[in-house]
C-alpha cells in the first residue's frame, strides 16, 4: 500500500492522460451515441427519430449486412495471414542459423511503407490491362486460365483487398511472436527431446503454451486492427464493384460524408464499437476456457 502522499501524486500524474482520453475517445463515442437517435444531414435541423436508425440498420438495410459479412471475411483473411503467417515465419526463424536479421528486416519492411503506396502497388499487381504481376506469374506457370481482373471480379475482390492488409503486418506480429519464442526455456525443450517428443509435440506441448499470453495480446491487436480496416479497401476499390468489398467502416464513412446522413452513420459507428467490444470479450472468453481446460 502506497502512503497517502504518493497516492496523491500518482493521481496527479494519471489525471491528465485520463482527461485526454475522455476528450478524445469517450466524448466522441457519447456524441455518436447521441447522434444515432437523430436524423440530421449536417445543414438541416436535427430531428429526433428514437430507435428508427437502429431498426433501419438491423432490419431494412441490405448494404449494412452485406458489409458486416464482408468485414468478417476481411477479418478472417487478415488474421490467417497475419497470425498464421507470423507464427510460421517466427518458428522457422528460430531454427535458422544464419541470416535471421536480414529475414526479419525484409518481413518487417511492408509495415513501414505508407498505406497509399501499398494500395497503388497492389492495384498494379492485380491489374489485367496492362497485365500486372499476378496475372503475368499465373501465365508463366501455365495457369493462364486463372488470369482475371482481380479487383473487378466480385468473387475475388474481397480476398484481393484483404491480402495487402494481411501481408503488410505479418512482419510486425512475426517479430512479437519471435521474441516470445526466444523466451521459451531451452532446458525444457531439450528434456522433451530426450524423452522422444516430435517437433510437432514440441511445438504444441511446450512452445505454444509458453507463448500463450503473447498470443492472446497479438490476437486481440490483430482482431481490432482487422475490424477497423478501412484505408486499403477504400483506396483500392472504394467498396466496389457493387458492394463486394464494402466494409462496415467504408460504408459508415460514405454514409456520413457522401450521403451526409450523420445520424445513421453514427448508428453504424455505435455498432462498430459494440462489435469490437464483443470481439475482444469473445477472444478472452475462448482463450481463458482453453487455458482452464
Amino acid at each position: 500500500m502506497l502512503p497517502n502522499r504518493s497516492r496523491l501524486s500518482v493521481l496527479v500524474f494519471l489525471l491528465p492522460p485520463l482527461l485526454l482520453y475522455g476528450v478524445a475517445v469517450l466524448f466522441p463515442i457519447m456524441q455518436s451515441l447521441f447522434l444515432s437517435f437523430f436524423s440530421w444531414n449536417g445543414i438541416s435541423d436535427m430531428e429526433f427519430v428514437g430507435l428508427a436508425n437502429y431498426v433501419r440498420m438491423l432490419t431494412g438495410d441490405d448494404i449494412f449486412w452485406r458489409s458486416f459479412f464482408n468485414a468478417l471475411g476481411y477479418l478472417a483473411i487478415c488474421l490467417v495471414l497475419q497470425l498464421g503467417g507470423a507464427l510460421l515465419v517466427a518458428s522457422l526463424l528460430t531454427s535458422m542459423r544464419r541470416g535471421r536479421e536480414l529475414i526479419k528486416t525484409l518481413y518487417l519492411l511492408p509495415a513501414v511503407i505508407s498505406t497509399v503506396a501499398i494500395a497503388f502497388l497492389f492495384v498494379r499487381i492485380y491489374s489485367i490491362e496492362p497485365v500486372g504481376l499476378l496475372n503475368q506469374l499465373l501465365h508463366w506457370i501455365g495457369l493462364g486460365a486463372l488470369e482475371r481482373p482481380w479487383l473487378s471480379d466480385i468473387h475475388t475482390v474481397l480476398a484481393a483487398v484483404s491480402a495487402p492488409e494481411g501481408w503488410r503486418f505479418t512482419g510486425l506480429y512475426m517479430l512479437i511472436i519471435y521474441a516470445a519464442l526466444l523466451s521459451v526455456p531451452q532446458e525444457l525443450e531439450e528434456a522433451a527431446r530426450l524423452d522422444g517428443a516430435s517437433r510437432w509435440q514440441l511445438f504444441t506441448k511446450i512452445r505454444f503454451p509458453h507463448i500463450m499470453p503473447v498470443w492472446i495480446t497479438t490476437t486481440i491487436m490483430a482482431t481490432t486492427y482487422g475490424l477497423r480496416g478501412f484505408d486499403i479497401p477504400y483506396l483500392m476499390t472504394n467498396g466496389g464493384p457493387g458492394q463486394s468489398s464494402e466494409l462496415l467502416t467504408t460504408y459508415m464513412y460514405k454514409t456520413a460524408f457522401t450521403s451526409t446522413d450523420f445520424g445513421y452513420a453514427s448508428t453504424i459507428a455505435v455498432f462498430i464499437v459494440v462489435e469490437c467490444l464483443v470481439a475482444v470479450g469473445l477472444i478472452l472468453f475462448m482463450l481463458k476456457r482453453k487455458a482452464d481446460a
Binding site: 482520453y21 478524445a24 475517445v25 466524448f27 466522441p28 463515442i29 456524441q31 455518436s32 447522434l35 444531414n41 449536417g42 445543414i43 438541416s44 436535427m46 448494404i63 492495384v123 492485380y126 491489374s127 489485367i128 490491362e129 482475371r148 481482373p149 479487383l151 473487378s152 466480385i154 481490432t224 486492427y225 475490424l227 477497423r228 478501412f230 483500392m236 476499390t237 472504394n238 467498396g239 466496389g240 464493384p241 457493387g242 458492394q243 467502416t249 459508415m252 464513412y253 460514405k254 454514409t255 456520413a256 460524408f257 457522401t258 450521403s259 451526409t260 446522413d261 450523420f262 452513420a265 453514427s266 459507428a269 455505435v270 462498430i272 464499437v273 469490437c276
Partner: protein, 444 residues
C-alpha cells in the same frame, strides 16, 4: 483502444458541426449590391479544379492585379481536385457553417438546400448587377441552375462531350460511326472480334460510366426524365428507364469496356485510347490539349476523330443536343458577401473571359473568341466550332442531379449491371426502391 479513433473522427466532425449550428447566415442573399466602403482583406475560394489549370492561373493573376490597387487584398485558393474528397470537405464545412467567401459546387440537391437556407448569393441578380449576365451562353447558365430555375453558381468553363474514336481501328473491324445509340452493342462485338478494346473508360471515378445511363433516356424521353426520376415520379421500370437498363446490359454483354474497367483510373483509360489499343473514348473538350495537339502520340494522331452523342429512332432531342457542361460552378457565400467581394468579382468577371479564351479553352461567355493553340491539329478547331451550333436542350450528368445516397448506389449497381453480375430486373428493382427510400428526404 485505438479501434475507437475512427468513431471519434466522425463524432469530432459532427461536434464541430453542432457548435456551428446556432448562427445562420444573417445577410439577405438577394441583396447583390452591398453599400459601404471596400475594405481590403484576404478572401478564400474553396475550389475543386486542377491546381495548375487555366482557371486557377488566371484567377491568381487577376487577384494579383486587383491587389495592386487594393493593398492588403489577397485571394487564397484552396483546391481539392479529387471530386469525392472535395464534396466531403464542402459538406463538412457547410455543416460547421464555416464556408469561405467563395466555394465551388455543382447544382446538386445538397447545394439547393444551402441556397434555400439563404447561404448563397443569387447569382442571376449578381451577374445582372455587374452587367455581364447577357454575355453568358444561356446553356452555360442553365447547367448551373437548380430545378426551380434559380441560379446560384457562376460558370468558369464551357465544355462539350464527344465520343472520340480511332478511324483506323474502326476500319480494321469493318464498322463505321454509329448512326444510333442502338448500334453500339453490335459495333462492340465487331471490334472485340477484331481483337480491339471497343471503349476505354475510367471506371474508378464512376461518373464516366454514369454518363452512359443518361444517354438513352435523354434521347428517348428528353431532359425531363432525370428530373422526374430523381424525385421518384419516373421509374427505371418505365419504358425509357427499361430501355437504358437493357441497353447497358447489352453493352456489358458485348464487352464494350476494357477488361477490369472498374478498377482502372482516368489516365489508364486515356492511355489505352491514345496508344491505339481502344477504339473509342468518351470525354469532353477539357482534354483537347492532349487529344488535338502535337502532344498526342504520333502513331494515332491522324486517325483520331470524334462524333457527338448518336440519336435514336424516334429521338425527342436533336443531334446537336448532348452533354455540354459548364463545369463545377462558383457560389458566393451570402454570409460573408460585402463591398470587397462584390468589387473583386466585378473586376475579375469582366476580365476573366478574354484571359480564359486566350488559353485555347471555350469561355462560358460569347463575347470572346477562343484562340486555337499553335500546336493544334485540325481537330481542335472542329471541336471548338461545335459550340456555335448547339440546340436548346442539354443532357445533364446524373451525378449532379440525384440525391447523394441514390447516386452512390446507382454508381455501384451500374458496374454490376455492365459486368453481368446482376440482371436488368434486379438493377431496376434495387434502384427504384433506393430512390423511393432516399428521394423524399431531399426533394420535399
Amino acid at each position: 483502444m485505438k479501434k475507437l479513433f475512427r468513431t471519434a473522427a466522425v463524432a469530432a466532425a459532427a461536434a464541430l458541426a453542432l457548435a456551428g449550428c446556432g448562427s445562420g447566415g444573417a445577410s439577405d442573399p438577394s441583396n447583390v449590391s452591398p453599400t459601404g466602403e471596400v475594405k481590403a482583406r484576404e478572401i478564400s475560394w474553396l475550389l475543386s479544379r486542377p491546381a495548375d489549370g487555366a482557371v486557377i492561373n488566371i484567377m491568381k493573376k487577376l487577384a494579383d492585379d486587383y491587389a495592386k490597387d487594393h493593398p492588403g487584398f489577397s485571394l487564397n485558393l484552396i483546391t481539392t481536385p479529387d471530386r469525392p474528397s472535395y464534396i466531403q470537405k464542402l459538406e463538412t464545412l457547410a455543416a460547421a457553417n464555416k464556408l469561405p467567401e467563395l466555394f465551388d459546387t455543382d447544382a446538386t440537391p445538397f447545394a439547393q438546400q444551402l441556397a434555400k437556407q439563404g447561404k448563397m448569393v443569387d447569382a442571376e441578380k449578381l451577374l445582372k448587377s455587374l452587367d455581364v449576365y447577357d454575355d453568358y451562353r444561356p446553356s452555360a447558365l442553365d447547367y448551373q441552375r437548380f430545378d426551380d430555375g434559380s441560379l446560384h453558381m457562376i460558370p468558369f468553363q464551357f465544355e462539350l462531350e464527344f465520343v472520340w474514336y480511332n478511324k483506323a481501328l474502326l476500319q480494321k473491324a469493318g464498322v463505321s460511326v454509329p448512326k444510333s445509340l442502338d448500334d453500339l452493342p453490335a459495333m462492340c462485338t465487331a471490334l472485340r472480334n477484331a481483337g480491339i478494346t471497343p471503349i476505354a473508360i475510367d471506371g474508378q471515378d464512376q461518373w464516366p460510366l454514369e454518363r452512359y445511363v443518361a444517354y438513352q433516356p435523354f434521347r428517348d424521353a428528353g431532359p425531363d426524365f432525370i428530373q422526374k426520376l430523381k424525385k421518384g415520379e419516373a421509374k427505371f421500370s418505365d419504358p425509357a428507364g427499361k430501355k437504358t437498363v437493357e441497353w447497358l446490359a447489352s453493352l456489358g454483354k458485348a464487352k464494350c469496356f476494357q477488361d477490369g474497367f472498374s478498377s482502372q483510373g482516368y489516365s489508364d483509360a486515356q492511355n489505352q485510347f491514345t496508344s491505339g489499343q481502344a477504339a473509342m473514348y468518351n470525354i469532353g473538350t477539357w482534354e483537347l490539349p492532349s487529344l488535338a495537339t502535337d502532344k498526342l502520340n504520333p502513331t494515332v494522331r491522324d486517325d483520331i476523330d470524334f462524333f457527338t452523342l448518336p440519336t435514336t429512332e424516334g429521338s425527342v432531342t436533336a443531334a446537336n443536343e448532348f452533354v455540354s457542361p459548364s463545369g463545377i460552378g462558383m457560389a458566393v457565400n451570402a454570409k460573408t458577401y460585402d463591398p470587397l467581394v462584390s468589387d473583386f468579382l466585378k473586376f475579375a468577371l469582366e476580365k476573366y473571359p478574354s484571359e480564359y479564351a486566350a488559353t485555347g479553352a471555350l469561355s462560358p461567355t460569347t463575347n470572346v473568341e477562343t484562340a486555337v493553340p499553335a500546336n493544334a491539329t485540325p481537330l481542335y478547331k472542329k471541336a471548338l466550332e461545335m459550340a456555335n451550333d448547339l440546340g436548346d436542350e442539354q443532357a445533364m450528368p446524373w451525378d449532379t442531379q440525384l440525391d447523394p445516397t441514390t447516386n452512390g448506389r446507382l454508381q455501384q449497381e451500374l458496374v454490376l449491371l455492365v459486368q453481368g453480375n446482376i440482371t436488368p430486373e434486379q438493377f431496376t428493382s434495387t434502384m427504384d426502391s433506393t430512390i423511393a427510400q432516399n428521394a423524399p428526404k431531399f426533394f420535399k
